[in-house]
């Protein structure tokens, strides 16, 4: 478990953050039925550690109902990006917290329905009034029951009431893309009720979370902030010796390394299993190891207890080159930014070298004892996402296919031949319930081939797609090696009958360099032509990362017009002959 500073550290540190400015900015509101002092300051500091500038608003004590129901409240004036709402179990159950058995079982059921409905009405009013995400904490189940050990023999008893409220809230909000349930009950389980809840603090000032655990709570809540801000790490780069297995394969040999069912080999098997579970939900894995390639690849392919095999890795840098050069090559191959990478290496010298030379990479501070690796990995919030799409689940397979493409690219004499052999198919799709989550996700995550880097949440995309003045589309890219999934997005604003404006044009790094962008642009030009539009206007808004798209507009025939670029629809557009474009 990550060591945490004392709360006073965060409170004082937050006071000195005013002079720091970062590109990423976020506004976070906290509402609660009890005292939440210290939480906002801790989140501010944790945001600054992630290079996010955070402004906070803390609602008045136990005024969450009024703040949410009054459309003109200070909460809405603050205009948050994310709002955390904590209602404690005493506030929710009122007298029934102490006297649940003063009413009948039927009445308890009725109460559960009423309280759930009240909370859901609040969340509805909230999402009708603001674009902010809402993170609603669920209810922990106090261990004390007046029925004691008979509690579990009681139909619809005290604990069951709370389970039922939690499960009803979760079910009702399951498909919401703006309201999330934070598992506070699980947080209490993780740290223990006796630790998290301190009676003296509660009596002293209605502080329902022990001050020592406010920083831990903040770390948990940061998962939402990281995911919302698009700061999620996409790739884990791993060392091999003493990281994926115990010992050094070059010295201990295939049979001498520690990897198996007995300790300490089981430590590494478990670590690999957790890594595989992350890979299966879309985290890319790669290897950066100083080793003899043949020794290491034999373990990876043939060791009976190896969980991760060659097919799970998007890149394998097993050589004697320095790890920083290897890391740069991995980032190039996978086509992701250094700040999307987390690096695991047991050797403090390698970690220091990486931290100094590539500070954007998150170098994980692994402890000396490998039995703690699993805990470190499981407690990282840097891989948090607000949504897992079909594309995410397929990513591992897609990167294996990508390796095969690279092999083909190396075997043909030039790019043109390579692209022709790929047999590329670009299918343009409309924004609909299936594609909207992915479209939003791509606008939030894509940094490199992104003309304007405008970020849109799912609700924004939904609204734009319902607006007849906008075209919101995405593109699925397939080739002979497989399906890359939805990997491009464009949003066009129909400014007037003669002119369209490209609001967003982006391509996932996964399909860059294959003329897909030209194929998509040709589709936009044709559609404009069919609608008798004369001009397409676009802007390139430079960022630190979108250099790859810098020359795209002039290369496609756009002419500079003050601070934007204009394409005359009547000029001929050359569609690349290496791909076919179709539309729904």
């Amino acid at each position: 478990m990550k060591g945490e500073q004392k709360l006073s550290y965060y409170i004082n540190k937050a006071a000195s953050l005013n002079n720091q400015t970062f590109d990423k900015k976020t506004r976070i509101a906290f509402l609660g039925s009890f005292t939440l002092n210290g939480l906002a300051e801790t989140i501010q500091v944790k945001c600054a550690e992630q290079k996010i500038q955070c402004v906070t608003y803390v609602g008045a004590y136990n005024q969450y109902n009024q703040e949410i129901l009054n459309s003109g409240s200070d909460l809405y004036k603050f205009n948050p990006d994310i709002t955390f709402l904590f209602i404690d179990v005493r506030a929710a159950l009122k007298d029934l917290f102490h006297h649940p058995y003063s009413i009948s079982q039927e009445e308890r059921k009725q109460f559960v329905n009423t309280i759930t409905e009240e909370i859901l009405n609040l969340t509805k009013k909230f999402s009708d009034t603001t674009k902010s995400k809402l993170v609603l904490a669920n209810f922990n189940t106090p261990t004390f029951s007046p029925y004691g050990i008979f509690e579990n023999k009681t139909e619809f008893g005290f604990k069951r009431m709370l389970y039922e409220i939690n499960s009803k809230l979760e079910d009702a909000l399951l498909n919401s893309d703006s309201i999330y349930v934070f598992d506070f009950a699980h947080f209490v389980v993780k740290f223990g009720e006796k630790n998290v809840f301190d009676y003296k603090q509660f009596f002293f000032g209605d502080m329902q979370i022990n001050l020592d655990y406010i920083p831990h709570l903040a770390t948990n809540l940061m998962s939402y902030v990281i995911a919302y801000s698009g700061m999620t790490k996409k790739c884990i780069v791993l060392d091999l010796d003493n990281t994926l297995w115990g010992g050094i394969v070059g010295e201990d040999g295939f049979n001498g390394i520690k990897l198996g069912l007995e300790p300490p080999g089981n430590v590494f098997v478990e670590f690999q299993k957790i890594l595989l579970s992350l890979h299966q939900r879309g985290i890319i894995l790669a290897i950066n190891s100083k080793n003899n390639y043949d020794d290491a690849i034999m373990v990876i392919n043939e060791h009976p207890y190896m969980i991760l095999r060659e097919e799970h890795f998007a890149s394998l840098k097993i050589n004697w080159t320095d790890k920083v050069s290897n890391m740069k090559e991995i980032a190039d191959e996978i086509n992701i930014g250094m700040d999307s990478i987390a690096f695991f290496d047991d050797d403090p010298v390698n970690r220091e070298y990486m931290q100094v030379n590539l500070p954007e990479v998150l170098t994980v501070n692994l402890p000396h004892d490998p039995s703690e690796f699993v805990n470190i990995l499981q407690n990282m919030n840097e891989f948090s996402v607000l949504n897992i799409t079909h594309e995410d689940q397929q990513r591992g397979k897609m990167y294996a296919e990508q390796r095969k493409r690279s092999e083909l690219e190396k075997s043909v004499p030039n790019l043109e031949n390579f692209l022709k052999q790929l047999d590329l198919k670009v299918s343009i799709k409309n924004a609909n319930e299936f594609t909207i989550p992915r479209i939003s996700q791509l606008t939030l995550k894509t940094n490199q081939f992104n003309l304007t880097t405008k970020r849109y949440q799912e609700n924004d995309i939904r609204k734009l797609s319902e607006d007849k003045n906008y075209l919101v589309r995405c593109a699925q890219v397939q080739d002979k090696f497989g399906d890359n999934g939805i990997t491009a997005v464009f949003i066009v604003k129909k400014e007037n009958q003669k002119e369209w404006v490209i609001d967003t044009f982006l391509l996932s790094c996964r399909v860059m360099g294959r003329e897909v962008e030209r194929g998509i642009l040709s589709h936009i030009v044709n559609e404009a032509k069919n609608n008798h539009v004369e001009k397409i206007r676009a802007q390139f808004l430079p960022t630190a990362k979108n250099k790859p798209i810098e020359d795209f507009l002039p290369n496609c025939g756009f002419k500079k017009d003050n601070d934007s670029w204009v394409y005359s629809v009547n000029s001929p557009f050359v569609v690349p002959d290496c791909l076919t474009v179709s539309a729904e």
């Binding site: 006073s8 006071a15 009596f203 001050l211 020592d212």
Partner: protein, 77 residues
């Protein structure tokens, strides 16, 4: 021990250690809010391995009160 106490209070209240004395408290230290006052007691408990009673927690009006309660718990200042 007294020095350690002053340093801890100064750190929690974010003021220079030499600006406080036994008579300092919420009235003379601007940052000493009721919440900060509780944070202070909490850190004192952890630093000096004591547990204040709720009466003691409520009773603190100045640093001299903290010293008195710590001494009652056997801490030699």
């Amino acid at each position: 021990m007294s020095k350690k106490l002053y340093e801890l209070i100064a750190r929690v209240m974010n003021v220079p250690a030499d600006s406080i004395d036994d008579n300092s408290g919420p009235e003379s230290i601007e940052s000493w809010t009721s919440f900060k006052g509780y944070v202070l007691l909490y850190e004192l408990e952890s630093e000096f391995k004591v547990k204040f009673t709720i009466d003691e927690a409520i009773d603190v009006k100045k640093i001299a009160d903290i010293k008195r309660h710590l001494e009652n718990h056997g801490v030699i200042l």
